[in-house]
């Protein structure tokens, strides 16, 4: 087996392949015959390695770590924290993490803090196949929005130990995109009675006392901005990096809405958003795609609003989580980490996350593990020909169901801003608390 086969359809051949690449890398590092390439010796060498992959629960999933451990022969432990606890741990306890799961804005922070090491792009086998949204900041030849911190913007550094981002393509990566989606709103079609395709509906007085918004300041304010822009109240320079004046305008309007009793609640976690909708407390709210699916599984009609870009308004708020290598990784552990990154993009994970509505940066590998029916439903936006099962085998949708928001391309080409951390974050937080306490 001199050349690994390109078509890696079975787990076995994938395992053999990735082990070989790792061996090459390890041998190069060792520089001698210390590791001679016998699988048994290699198995001895790696079986004590443990990689701690740390991040938020919707991105760092135990089932994925378990599969990786099985395929790779060393141990991958998944640890979940909320967004805030995660970034705090990455910058204050970097040695307690091996692989940090970060969003673009967190990659930017962690890079500045100097707790990461650059990922060598050429050691990522699927790198050329990663969608150009991430690697080049474009899709179908069209530039992807740079409002907020786009993955492309946060992705490159010029040297492995650089502490400032590099604008444009370079040889080293701050983080390797692994899962992403486009967020919008969820609503109850039975109670609203018409199709919602625009953010301004979230602040429509018709839904007074029955609406909710996301209470994570950094992204909640962007949802609010999308609403106000959609209603024609303001035009932002960059929704993802507002000026103090824009922040004031946005918060003042939120406070006004709150005083009118517009918001039934605000939510912080996935589960809260599901509960609000399922318990009939709200009929429209900013919401994540899998949360909408979770409401439907409870037997309640719920639709994910397609908010395609119209002129300079509307569009989804995109987010992307990626894996970053902590600075302390070296030697065999670093080799194992590269092997893990390569495994991650090789298909299994892409198929897994597709089944709850998230996307892989390398759809071509995910396609290999999805059935034609699944691929058509999740990626192509076509009606299901057979029941659609979630990653754990529970039926989610019946035959004939169609995914809200249409195909993958319809969604990702309509992302108009990205999750972010504004330069005026501290001021914005302060004003957001004005909104909370008003």
């Amino acid at each position: 087996m001199k050349k690994p086969s390109r078509a890696r359809t079975t787990a076995t051949s994938r395992r053999q392949f990735s082990r070989r690449t790792l061996l090459k890398g390890a041998a190069a590092v060792a520089g001698s015959g210390a590791i001679t390439g016998f699988p048994t010796i290699w198995a001895q060498e790696i079986k004590n390695i443990e990689l701690r992959h740390v991040g938020v629960s919707y991105s760092v999933v135990k089932a994925i770590g378990d599969q990786a451990s099985k395929d790779l022969g060393f141990k991958v432990t998944m640890q979940n924290l909320d967004t805030s606890a995660a970034i705090n741990r990455f910058v204050t306890q970097p040695a307690s993490v091996d692989i940090a799961d970060v969003e673009g804005w967190q990659a930017k922070l962690a890079t500045k803090r100097g707790v990461l090491q650059g990922i060598e792009a050429k050691r990522i086998k699927e790198f050329p196949n990663i969608l150009p949204i991430f690697t080049k900041g474009e899709i179908n030849g069209k530039a992807v929005s740079r409002q907020g911190i786009s993955p492309f913007e946060a992705m490159y550094i010029s040297k492995p130990d650089a502490t400032t981002l590099h604008d444009g393509v370079a040889d080293y990566l701050t983080f390797l995109p692994q899962v992403y989606n486009a967020d919008s709103m969820g609503y109850r079609p039975d109670l609203i009675g018409r199709e919602i395709t625009s953010w301004k509906e979230l602040i429509n007085p018709d839904f007074k006392g029955k609406a909710a918004i996301l209470d994570v300041p950094a992204i909640g304010i962007m949802d609010a901005a999308l609403c106000f822009e959609s209603a024609g109240l303001i035009k932002y320079g960059n929704k993802g990096n507002m000026t103090k004046k824009e922040i004031d305008f946005t918060i003042d309007h939120l406070i006004e809405l709150k005083k009118q009793g517009h918001f039934r609640a605000t939510w912080t976690t996935f589960d809260q958003s599901v509960q609000l909708m399922a318990a009939g407390e709200v009929i429209i709210q900013s919401m994540w795609s899998p949360a909408v699916a979770a409401v439907r599984v409870k037997g309640m009609p719920c639709v994910y609003a397609p908010v395609n870009i119209k002129g300079a308004k509307e569009g989804y708020r995109g987010w992307c989580n990626g894996m970053a290598l902590m600075k302390h990784l070296s030697g065999k552990k670093l080799e194992a980490a590269y092997e893990y990154l390569n495994w991650y993009l090789s298909g299994w994970q892409g198929g897994f996350v597709a089944r709850y509505g998230y996307y892989s940066p390398v759809p071509s590998t995910a396609k290999k593990v999805l059935s034609a029916n699944e691929w058509d439903y999740w990626y192509e936006g076509k009606p299901a020909k057979a029941p659609i099962l979630d990653p754990y085998g529970v039926a989610m949708e019946q035959a004939g169901a169609k995914r809200d928001g249409g195909s993958f391309m319809d969604r990702v080409t309509n992302i108009s801003c990205w999750n972010t951390l504004m330069d005026e974050a501290q001021y914005m937080n302060k004003r957001w608390n004005d909104f909370k306490v008003a």
Partner: protein, 298 residues
Amino acid sequence: MTGPGEAAPSRRSLMQRFASWLSIAPLVLVLVPFFVVPMLAVIAASFMESDGFGGIIFHPSLDNYKELFTSMLTMNLYLSTLKFTLLSWLFTFLIGFGVAYFLAFHVRSTLLATSLFLLCTIPFWTSNVIRMISWIPLLGQQGLVNTVLTGAHLVRQPLKFLLFSDFSVVVAYVHQLTIFMIVPIYSSLARIDKRAVEAAWDAGAGRWDILRLIILPLAKNGIALGSVFVTSIVMGDFFVVKVMSGGNSGSVVAALFENISVLQYPTAAAQAVVLMLVVLLIATVILRSVDVRREIAR
């Protein structure tokens, strides 16, 4: 040359001093590294400056405090948190005192009183997060309470104020914290000499006078201890407010937490120091009125 008579006392006093140091040593060994040192670090950080991405710049100034004390937000957050503290304190006190009074004076058998007292603790076998969240299906618009009320035609529309409101926050706090009132008040009341009550009764005092002039003064220590527990817990909490108000109310700690989530440590540290001083102040005022040492030593 010193005689044995002179050397002995000084050696004894040395021994005594050593023994007393030794007896507080465990506490000191725990408190210094796990409380004093982190506290000093927080206080030090509160005077520094943030570099905007998690770093602390050594540039001592009072800016963080100036910012805090000149902001209306601080005022509003404290008003909101104090409102919840006061309401929670009032209701935990009324309920806690009522329960403790009943157990101490109306239940004749000590065994029964003790068993009933233990019954009060049963809800606390589950986590307080679960106890809080269980209120949501009960108080929601399609919850049990509203279903019953609309079903019985007592209200036409489901009552919205039941959930995601100040009301639901106070309900959750009272549910969680009443036990902290019951325990110390019961322990005070149980020690009241029943003969004092009987004597007052015989002397012609009414029920209200006995409560006001004998029982309340003697229960003062227990009430003070319970009040310290309740106020300091509510002041330092943000989770109950966040969940039960449906995110509609802010709190001092929630604002502090938002700063930590964007790595603004110095500002958060200053907020923590101010909160600590406020809570200390409240506790001091409460404890000034009683002799806690006596209460605990008794």
